[in-house]
Every structure is written in C-alpha cells, then in structure tokens.
Symmetry: C2
Subunit: 149 residues, 2 copies
DNA sequence: TTTACTGCAAAGGGTTTGCATGAGG
DNA sequence: CCTCATGCAAACCCTTTGCAGTAAA
C-alpha cells in the first residue's frame, strides 16, 4: 500500500469510528495496523522519531478509545498488554522461548463454530468472540532446540 | 473433602513442589484450589480473617512461586491477573456482562489435539499448552437480556 | 543450624487523570 | 466557535524488592 493510500485509509478508519483525524492519531493508526501485536510502548517508541513531543498518555488514550470503538482488541499477556489488530477469528501461536506471536488461521471450515456450539450447548452460553493462544516453540526455536540434542 | 484431608493434600502439593509448609502457605493453597480463577486480592482478603497480619507480599510471592513450579497458571485479564487452577485442557467461558468465568470441558475427544495439529502443520509450531477464552453472555445474563426485548 | 519464609515498608513499572493549551470540524 | 485532542505532570494502582526477624526441616 502506498503511503498516501494508507493515510486515506487511516482517516476513514477514524472517521467511521467517530474520531477526529489529528496527525498523531493518523500516525498511531498507521503504526498499530502495520504491526502484529503491538504494545503501547512499541507504538510510542516508533512514533517519537516522527513526533518528538508526542505524549505517552496520548498513545494510551488513543488506544483505549480505539479499543472502545472496536477497532482493536486488548490482549493482556503476562509481561505486557498487547493489541490485537487482526479481528478475523484466528489463534495466536505464542513462542515461550523467543516471545514471537504468529497468527494461525486454522478455522476456515467451521472449526471455530463447532467449538462455540459446544460451549453453547453445554452451558447455555451465547458466544460473541474468543481468544485462542497456543503456547509452545516456534519453528526456529524448535529447530535450535533439536540441534542441541 | 474433609478439612483434615484437604490439609494433608495441601502439604503434599507443597512438598512435591519442593516448598516448605508454613501455616500461611497451607491456607493460600487451600484457598486458591477452592476457588475457580482467583486473583491475588481475593485470596488475600479471604485469608485476612484467619491471619490478620498476613502480608499482601506473601500472597504475591507464594503465587509467583506456585506459578514457577507449575502448580497454577497465570491468566492475565484486562482488569486483573487471575490464576488458572484447573490444569486439564478446557475453555474458559467469560461473561462480558457479569464477569463470571466458567470452565467448559469441550475437548474430550481429541478436539484440542486437532487444533494443535493444525497449528503445528501450518507453521512448524510445537504446541505445549493453550489458553482458550470464549467471550459472550452466560446463561443467566443471556436470559435477562432476552426478557428485556 | 541452616535455609527459606514472613511481614512491613519502600521502590518500581505501567496506566490513568487533571488541566491548560491548541487544533479539528 | 465549540468541542475534542494533546502533552505534561501528578496521581494511582498493582507488583516486586530489601531487610530484619522468625520458623521449618
């Protein structure tokens, strides 16, 4: 995507959510959606080069607002709160060694629906969304571990 | 389970993990395993009647140690860090209205294994464990909502 | 007797809030 | 113009750490 297109898209994202398009917000939106599971600190650090005076509170406030508007989902981890940008149903493959988080789209064929239906049938629960983390070793960490044996 | 049996079980749990059995720890273990997804604050508040001088740091330290020894799992939520006591594979049904968290054992027949295998096949990932939260309305909140329509 | 645990207080880190200034619609 | 967003600083949790006293093994 060209920078200009991305900028227009960011404006539309904000407008649809009923938010004003300030230069800081456009940059935050661009930065958040160009990353996989960013933290506030990561977004803040990335933007300080472009906006040396940007406040950490601005990033916090904007991400809270974006969460309230449903643009992203909050994803609390043990060491940091991350933000889920990919709102299509998927699992997060979380490497317990290097910390990498990879999206896994394993639900193409109604797999997720079956899980929801089971939960629903068993407990009278009405599912709206889900968080699925699979913890283990990513490919490269698994290979490194195997080589040491 | 009778109180005496529970006490003996708590001692064994601590011993197997290589931890000393102090009166405070026995009470923490009892309290943690008698709850579903306790927070540090909930355990602390429950124990202050029995141990008026117990320190909040003691509860924090003990739960951190228990996590390191694999007795419980840390489960960060947006508003609080909870602890997973049920280490058998299951989903947490999290009510977005009242906050209730219910365990759902929907994986009796290898459902979970299939999910793991898909992740593994697609990404070369070696799964070790998982966290599955399903967000929505619990039975009673769903019924209340339906009645208002 | 040695080592680990407790409890208190202080420090630390992440997140929110209050307020004056400034910019968007 | 009026409202909302920014940036700074202070306040606010929640959690960890340091340390002296104490109890477990």
């Amino acid at each position: 995507m060209l920078p200009m297109e991305r900028n227009l898209e960011s404006i539309n994202i904000l407008r649809r959510a009923g938010l004003r398009s300030t230069p800081q917000r456009l940059a935050i939106v661009r930065e958040v959606f160009s990353r996989h599971h960013p933290t506030v600190a990561e977004v803040y650090d990335a933007l300080r080069r472009e906006f040396p005076t940007i406040g950490l509170a601005t990033v916090y406030n904007t991400l809270r607002t974006m969460t309230e508007k449903g643009l992203v989902h909050e994803l609390p981890f043990v060491n940091a709160t991350r933000f889920e940008v990919n709102l299509t149903p998927h699992a997060n493959l979380v490497c317990t060694r290097c910390g990498e988080i990879e999206d896994s789209e394993v639900f193409e064929d109604g797999f997720l629906n079956e899980m929801r239906q089971r939960a629903s049938a068993a407990a009278g629960f009405e599912p709206e969304g889900q968080r699925i983390d699979i913890y283990g070793l990513c490919r490269s960490c698994a290979e490194q571990t195997a080589n040491k044996l």
